[in-house]
Symmetry: C2
Subunit: 506 residues, 2 copies
């Protein structure tokens, strides 16, 4: 039987448009009149708050504290680190004036506001804060005893994107940026690895997003970094999304900003720094990873509501009893703890049709839907539906069983989403050993698998190939994927043990 889907077009019909429609149907965010800037609506923002709460604890558990630095960066700061400045120059919002003057247009009678009070030195709105935080670190560091500095900032940043896409690529976005300074290179590298691991674990365990951890090639590095580590996610159209990066900055920023200290041997030394960040982009990844043709599928750990209880009240005389029963059940479930927080339960008592109500929660991706009607009340049962299963699948279970197994059920949904995503990813990473295979794989317009290939090309050769096939090296993978016998590079033919992952990406 053909079933009507809630989202049109479907993923198969038009993936990018399906993505926009899922966001709209779940009421998560919308474009604003401000070029490239989105409005994050309550349902989308609630997911961000849950992401923040979990990540923030991980940062604190690894010894970081939060702080806040200025939004505006003097142009002269950017000029200090040339590579960094060039990397962000094409996408900077620049503040040049600090006042407005009202001018009345005599013919129309309308008032217009004109910028005035020109600044001697313009500012850019932070695209990232290495320079402004580096300036603070330089003030705070005089001896090795002042190190390490391990700071995180939650804030908005701005990069003037020419082709914005909601959550994935917007002019303004929310993120966290960690910045640390250390006495030795080893400590800074260890920090970079630690945060890389934190990102991998967080995405796997909380967002149910499996990622491939690895290092970026020189061509793909953060501007000014010595090494960039990334976690790369494969979403349902097999495109890659860079889901979080951590950078070992060596002494590059320390030298350009004079972050120096008297060492244990009393010599003056430059600090070794790192930075790392994830953003609201993760919400886009999460949507593209799990959602289906009926809308958002939200992993329980970041679902604004984990359980929705819908009272089914066909008769007026049993209506209040059913609602009361639902409220009592909700209160019972809320006393349970899922990963340290009360289970989030909502009872939907709105006076609208049951079908519309049910579909609204499907589209919003709530993991568990419970319906309770007059007969369930009599029998002490509930009708249970899982968002990770087909919408017409339902099971009738005793209410006591629901109460006993609620958190287990949530974890089961969380795990099933992760397993499904891992299986999908693993079935779409192929090995290749020749340029011809690579070209064949990426020759068509449609979805394409990721290819793991031996690679020893130069940055220029990499960029040329990337441009020609409109693909990129996502990373030099760590672990099993990255461990291999010497084989000829698909481009140069030189023997190499290095493996890289080529893919299309967002």
């Amino acid at each position: 039987m053909a079933q009507q889907n809630a989202i049109s077009p479907t993923r198969a019909e038009n993936f990018p448009e399906w993505y926009q429609q899922v966001i709209k149907a779940a009421d998560m965010a919308e474009n604003s009149e401000v070029r490239g800037s989105m409005v994050i609506k309550p349902w989308g923002y609630a997911i961000w708050e849950l992401i923040q709460r979990d990540l923030d604890q991980r940062f604190k558990d690894t010894g970081h504290t939060n702080a806040y630095f200025p939004l505006l960066i003097p142009l002269s700061y950017l000029e200090k680190e040339a590579e960094h400045a060039e990397g962000f120059a094409t996408e900077c919002a620049v503040v040049t004036h600090h006042r407005l003057e009202a001018q009345k247009d005599e013919s129309t009678g309308k008032t217009r506001m004109i910028p005035t009070g020109e600044l001697t030195e313009p500012y850019v709105i932070r695209p990232t804060s290495e320079t402004i935080i580096g300036a603070a670190f330089a003030r705070w560091t005089s001896s090795y005893r002042d190190l390490p500095l391990k700071i995180n900032q939650w804030c908005n940043v701005m990069r003037w994107e020419m082709r914005p896409r909601i959550f994935l690529r917007t002019a303004e976005f929310l993120w966290q940026e960690g910045h640390t300074a250390h006495e030795t290179a080893e400590e800074a590298i260890e920090e970079t690895h630690t945060m890389h691991k934190v990102y991998e674990e967080f995405q796997r365990d909380v967002l149910a997003v499996p990622t491939i951890p690895g290092e970026k090639t020189e061509a793909e590095r953060f501007p000014g970094a010595v090494q960039t580590f990334t976690v790369e996610a494969m979403v349902q159209d097999r495109k890659a999304i860079q889901a979080g990066t951590s950078h070992f900055l060596g002494q590059n920023f320390a030298k350009s900003q004079n972050i120096c200290f008297a060492g244990r041997d009393n010599t003056q030394q430059f600090a070794w720094t790192s930075s790392w960040g994830v953003s609201t982009r993760m919400i886009g990844t999460l949507i593209m990873m799990h959602s289906d043709d009926d809308g958002l599928v939200c992993p329980p750990r970041v679902a604004p509501q984990q359980v929705v209880i819908i009272p089914v009240t066909p008769k007026e005389d049993s209506r209040q009893a059913i609602i009361d029963h639902c409220q009592a059940l909700a209160a019972t479930l809320r006393q349970q703890s899922f990963h340290g927080y009360p289970v989030r339960v909502i009872v939907d008592t709105r006076d609208i049709g049951g079908g519309a109500k049910k579909w609204e929660w499907i589209k919003k991706g709530v993991p568990v839907r419970i319906e309770i009607g007059p007969r369930d009340l009599d029998k002490g049962s509930v009708c249970l539906q899982r968002r990770d299963q087909a919408t017409n699948e339902k099971s009738f279970i005793p209410e006591s069983e629901l109460i006993d197994s609620c958190t287990k059920l949530l974890q089961d949904i969380q795990d099933s989403l992760l397993q499904r995503a891992i299986a999908f990813r693993d079935s779409h990473i192929q090995k290749a050993s020749s340029l011809a295979e690579l070209e064949a794989n990426f020759s068509t317009e449609g979805d394409a698998d990721w290819l793991l290939v031996p690679w020893d090309g130069s940055p220029d050769e990499e960029e040329e190939l990337a441009k020609r096939l409109r693909i990129s090296i996502r990373c030099i993978p760590q672990g099993e994927l990255g461990t291999a016998e010497p084989a000829p590079c698909i481009l140069t033919g030189r023997m190499t043990t290095r493996r890289v992952l080529w893919a299309r990406s967002y």
Copy 2:
């Protein structure tokens, strides 16, 4: 015996400079090279996080959800509400370009970044978000069923202050801004009052800051508001600080931004809106309210650490045993809950002198200091010192007593700070019935009491008097202070039941 104070100058010597030194000594924040923008350091930011956590729950408990709106506001939005635009025009950061171009100076060899990519329509960095959120509300509202909208946003805002003062008045600051839209004027007014009350209770119960709640006069209203309600705090130099405002906006913004809906009678109507906000300014208020000549005094509910345990280890052989004992005590105390969260305890095991260590925590305002040395270990006792008492006061109590009474002790300190602040405030509000008394009260440069006077002057008369004496009407107080028999206005002589509070202010 004359005691040396940790902060120089003292409050009596130079209050504004004392304030800066307290912030520095507690390592809370510092000025940055960006004009008027501060860096909020970890100790200061931790206080803000605790403020956020508590307030956020109060907003959610009163039916609000969080969302996020663009940082940049098109100039045309500001032009729509003339009074609002004029109110903020003199202090707006304006974005006029969206790119930088690197230009090499041939003579110096240095690279300079030049703004390029001029925008057709400039943007201002939000000084407040009525206009941009109003535009979203207009999109979201088509029927009375879509109302009320009750949204809050945590974000940064920017007002180009000419005379910045850290926390109290900075170009960029962090705040929350609530924005709501309602079907009727009554509902919007009720919302305004509800949030006014939330602010009063939060400041009283959490910051130990007693405030005078009241309404602003027409001259002091938020630009574009019909009514502005405020909570006014008196700090130790008797100046007033506006510690939070909520505004009933009538239909002013709804009309200029077309927030309209089909009503129950099917006619097209404009919504009634409100807005309300508090900011990092509260941290400045808290410092000026409670701190002393030894540094910050932090109310327990927002203290980043509530208890510091200092191991006193004069002999190497008992050193580890004492440290282990301190850690175990900390773990025990952390199992206790103070207002819903584990007691925040730190054990300071750093290898620096005991005196320096102790004074560092005094200056940081930690409510309870515990010292444990070899003799205490033998006797099962601890040395207890309270930050709200003199630094040389100490009591030796059994450790079991500390464990039993820890949360009671914290609440006792919280209460004592509030009571002290209330007593100070009440002893410095005087009644006056003539202009001569007002002039005499504010004629000197030093600290001056607040004066409650009968007032029926016009906005122009108010502004003239305010300017001449460099004072302002803080509010028309609610409650007992504002209830009075008719008396002649001190300026016009007209009989009035209205009382207003005149004061110097930050």
